[in-house]
């Protein structure tokens, strides 16, 4: 029954999973946020995540070291990001379409590599929960926040770091200027192309890490289409979060908490109307759409988002 949800153990369970589940969204969304703040919409996040997830999984499986796996995902993500930058910044292809191309490439390529190099679904021992001394002993909060894996901590650490980079460094100032008025930035000697290359490549690296967080930390498996839409939700969360690091954090947490809730409802076999567990699975997505609907127009998106910049036009 529904009252099953309201035991301390279950509530802690839901919150712990919620915190955990936000990990890939945080990596991917923060990375995407950098690209979008500089004016590049990268819809290829999902494909980059898949490639990153495979690379991390394969390297961890063969070397036994999740850290090497993480490194591999960063390398592969960086390359994917670089490819997206070449396509959309240098060759000035329509960003939405080229992003979908990059996604389809990542989807197909990771599946091909999976079949050729693994063949079957295996598990790997990835990042283990890492209890932080003292803090993890605090009742309730301890198990929720401080008995997670290194990847989870990294994801949350990324939020203030991203904020600092965006608002306190010259690089961040360039990013914000290039995404709002590239002509102005260009007239002051800021290279629009170099700035966008850096953000899109960074976004790719973080998308790769997001993939790794699935394959070697949260799930410890790799299979075809492992990410199943997380990369696209991550793009939506950037809008949801108003292109701000803490907004993205809020969005990722809200989404993941609702997701955790529905997973626990399923796990506890709580009866649902019409026996439709699909309705439950839809919950986080419906919620995202609702929040996007009602928050539309609340914050302005970067003015140059999606626009190709060429000097003198």
């Amino acid at each position: 029954m529904i009252s099953q949800l309201f035991t301390e153990a279950v509530l802690i369970g839901i919150l712990t999973s919620g915190i955990r589940l936000a990990t890939p969204y945080l990596f991917a969304s923060i990375g995407e946020m950098f690209g979008q703040r500089s004016g590049v919409l990268n819809l290829g996040v999902e494909g980059m995540m898949l490639m990153g997830a495979f690379a991390a999984f394969y390297v961890t499986l063969t070397t036994g070291s999740p850290w090497l796996g993480l490194l591999a995902s960063i390398l592969v993500g960086t390359l994917m990001g670089l490819a997206m930058a070449v396509i959309s910044v240098t060759f000035q292809a329509e960003q939405g379409i080229s992003g979908i191309g990059v996604y389809l490439f990542g989807l197909g390529m990771s599946e091909l590599l999976f079949k050729k190099m693994l063949g079957t679904v295996e598990t790997v021992s990835g990042f283990r929960p890492l209890a932080i001394p003292v803090l993890s002993d605090i009742p309730i909060i301890g198990p929720i926040l401080f008995q997670q894996s290194a990847m989870v901590y990294l994801a949350y650490l990324l939020v203030p770091v991203a904020w600092f980079v965006l608002y306190r460094t010259t690089f961040g100032l360039k990013i914000r200027a290039v995404g709002e008025n590239p002509a102005a930035a260009d007239s002051l000697g800021v290279s629009v192309k170099r700035t966008r290359y850096m953000t899109v490549t960074l976004g790719g690296a973080l998308a790769g890490v997001a993939g790794a967080s699935l394959s070697i930390a949260l799930l410890n498996v790799f299979q075809q289409n492992l990410t199943s839409g997380i990369g696209f939700i991550a793009v939506a969360l950037v809008y949801f979060g108003g292109w701000r690091p803490y907004g993205v954090l809020f969005g990722a947490l809200l989404f993941s908490m609702v997701n955790a809730l529905q997973l626990w409802i399923q796990a506890l076999n709580i009866p649902i109307p019409f026996d439709a567990s699909e309705l439950l699975i839809m919950m986080p997505y419906v919620l995202t759409i609702l929040v996007l609907m009602f928050s539309a127009g609340r914050v302005r998106k970067p003015s140059a988002l999606g626009a190709i910049y060429e000097r003198g036009t």
Partner: protein, 512 residues
Amino acid sequence: MTDLLPSGHPRIDHLEMRGITKRFPGVLASDHVDFDVRTGEVHALLGENGAGKSTLMRILYGLYQPDEGEIRLNGQVVSIQSPADAIRYGIGMIHQHFMLVPTLTVKENVALGLKSSRSFLTDLDKVAARIEQLAKLYSLDVDPDAVVWQLSVGQQQRVEIIKALYRGAALLILDEPTAVLTPQEVDEFFVILEQMKRDGHALIFISHKLHEVIQLCNRVTVLRDGRTIGTTKVEGTTKQQLAEMMVGRPAGLQPTKKPLDAHEVRLSVRNVEALNDRGRPALRGVSFDVRAGEIVGLAGVSGNGQRTLAEVIAGLRPATSGEVSLGGRNVTGLSPRRVMALGLSYIPEERMRDGMIREFTVAENIILREFDQPPYARSGFLNQAAIQRNSRELVNSFNVKTPSLETPAKNLSGGNIQKIILAREISRRPQVIVAAQPTRGLDIGATEYVHARLLEQRDQGTATLLISEDLDEILALADRILVICDGRIMGDVPRAEATAEKLGLLMAGVES
């Protein structure tokens, strides 16, 4: 005088551009142009649109590379490969469309692209202190912490100047700097420029407003079709002489007007109220009449309800109360199509956005209003022969310069685009014309052409409402002048009694 400017940077005593030639595919934009500017002078660069002013200045600022010619700075030949090079040589540019990031603060805009004293961290406090110092030295009142989009246009221009001074600009290129300012802001701006001139800056003033050139500048170089027509001292030169140099034929004269012969009321606006795009009241009980055979000018500072009024009359925006009548018939709430069919012609303010379809051809834009009616269409089929014939006729009679009827409209100059709109709107023999900012951004030749056509319509008995922010234009054409401020008509002044001062006060909202 020392060799340093108040900003602490060295002066540029003399900058010369010699024999500058720049070719673009199919166009010779600059043809062996000579130009020079010295410390302590304002040198005007005058010319029609397309005369090559911008190309020349873009070369000086490193945005383009010349195909021939050289730039000498204090006698030394220099190579300016990029804006960064230009900035290093002490050259700054204030672009016509401000190069500011609206979502950033003033200090962030100034700091952008500069090396920070804290390596990869921003040093905005230091930047702010230096901005305040420069603001004091040059009497440029600016708050470093303000976010740019909240500033007025005049303030934003000051930010642009500070940006250039901060980077050590000794020479400033001002690209049509007054185009976006109100008359009061222009006066304040000129005071600043006068001071910079006295302090030893070299200023290049690009404009096609002759009275400003005469008021502010020491020397003037006139360009036409990419060539230098001549350089002359401003002192002792008249507006007419400059206009003739610019256009290459007698120009710049006041259009001659026949005596007013007004008849019945054609357009009547009664107690109209309406909201703007943001849902705020933009018109607060506007009433006036326009009669056949007269031009009524609507003067006012930008953003006081002019655009809303034009859109309400054209049926593009609903009135929340009040009534608009056309030829005695109430047209309030009718669709634009119905209003136009009843004899209204509309020349919209944003000609590229509302006046035409950029990607469509010249011919398609000419028939845009009546494309589905004979002779252009029958039973739903376009009659290409009639379209070609009529649009060719109109292109010829309105002097539209276009490679062909099939050229996309976006490839034409602003003046030719406005001629296409005029051709479409006037050839319908309208009862009433609403012309909003009909010459904004047009050169002298095109402006004179538009004015002549509007006066011709007046003499033929059309009722015209001329909405303009250019007082000179209103004074030249209108028989009667309405002044709008904050959505209210502040005054209705016959032309004979109108002076710039009187209208200026009404525009500022001072009751007469």
